[in-house]
Point group: C2
Chain length 268, copies 2
């Protein structure tokens, strides 16, 4: 018997629906910065939000990394990913304490000094009462030279953009507000359409037919996500493509395959 | 005025309490594999669990990555991180469908064939009713040559270990059961002790004193996590170290600093 994996279409063909080759695809990487995520103290809530938001505006999140508050790691990671993806979004590490080293690290990655940003300085001066804008808080007005600010309507201290890198806070409510501020600056590619089919059959039953459908529709990404409700196994099939006509043809082909296996898929 | 960032201790000194230099430190990297996390369809629940578990047994999670179901990316990522960290844990992509390419990708990274594992085959034969173990399900019995199995008490199809890489399922309940199975195989380093101090002062008020304390106790990692309850700002200070005596001394020093600012820290 030949290995079942021999019949799998190549990953590049089946799981990367033209992203690498398609100039209409805009790619992104998220870097979550913070020891607290890696120690398990804090559960990250930013990646899921950004994934959903970026997908919604036609930006493909291609990778995410969680890195500790170590300057060398942040610099190396940034310099690797900012050349590989159209956009890079970072969260965390821009507060007033000694462990907030993102701004200085980004500056180092870009080879520019981290200096007091006059606009950010003015914002903080207006925000804090007389005598409250101490040296620690002034850290939050420092950005890599040449950066432009990202507005923070929640707690004033801004994020910033330099090149294709957008630097945001780690607190989810602040990060989300900053993302809303910068969103109009992003140019998405062709929006990705998605259809989900819920099927009341175990994944192993539909797998062969789904693989064949994926072979036939190489430009439609087909994902299979099993679920279990009590003793019942089911699977959600998610079909995604930038080509709506092709997507509908693939949905029809997969639905027909499911019907032949004795179930009626539900479009969610 | 000198830049406030000039007064920050170097990241390597302050935020990496001896990890790189200390042979007693055992390091790890988690790779979350799956388009569904990057598209925002599914919120990852595995990273937080693994972070907490690893910390609990004295393994330092130093980095995490979320990568798509693209073979070349998985292979490249694995080959980068498995040489840099003591342990690598992957989640996702070991089911029966065409998009489950983790086993084949791990085999490729290790330069070995992905073959039918006799024990895994026997497990699946015993689990499925006559005629149900089709070619798709047999994919789940394929592992890189030389791998040893990780038991799956939830749904039978096993994970596996090859070298320092542990390959687990993506469904949280299955992943957690697999982690429980493999946990006895892990050798942690000196356990990391952690103390949290809750302070009813804004982060910017304690930042300078905390930075000075961090300078004084370079081998105690001090993290500052602001929170907001209604109109009140507060901050939790997390101190972590492998050295308990040093940790208690640092906790005392930080507590004294907080008292001098007019607040009594609460040890949580």
């Amino acid at each position: 018997m030949s290995s079942p994996s021999a019949s799998v279409p190549s990953a590049a063909a089946s799981q990367d629906p033209g992203v690498a080759e398609n100039p209409a695809i805009v790619s992104a990487c998220v870097i979550v910065i913070g020891n607290e995520i890696l120690s398990g103290r804090t559960r990250d809530a930013n990646l899921g939000f950004l994934a959903e938001q970026l997908t919604g505006i036609g930006v493909w999140l291609m990778e995410a990394r969680v890195v500790p508050d170590i300057e060398a790691v942040i610099v190396e990671t940034l310099n690797e990913v900012r050349h590989r993806f159209d956009y890079v979004f970072t969260t965390g590490g821009i507060g007033p304490t000694h462990d907030d080293i993102t701004s200085a690290s980004v500056a180092k990655a870009f080879g520019v000094p981290c200096t007091l940003h006059p606009e950010a300085h003015a914002l903080l001066k207006a925000h804090y009462a007389e005598g409250q804008l101490n040296e620690a808080r002034l850290r939050m007005a420092h950005t890599p030279e040449g950066a432009t600010l990202i507005e923070n309507p929640v707690s004033t201290a801004p994020g910033f953009q330099i090149g294709n890198v957008f630097v945001m806070a780690g607190i989810p409510s602040v990060m989300q507000a900053m993302f809303e501020s910068l969103k109009p600056c992003l140019t998405g590619g062709t929006p990705v359409r998605s259809v989900t089919l819920a099927v009341s059959l175990p994944e192993g039953t539909i797998a062969q037919g789904l693989g064949a459908a994926q072979d036939r529709f190489a430009d439609v990404e087909m994902g299979s996500y099993p679920y279990r409700t009590g003793d019942r196994f089911g699977v959600r099939i998610v079909l995604r493509s930038v080509d709506e006509v092709l997507l509908e043809a693939a949905v029809e082909a997969v639905s027909e395959m499911i019907r032949e296996l004795g179930d009626e898929p539900t479009r969610e």
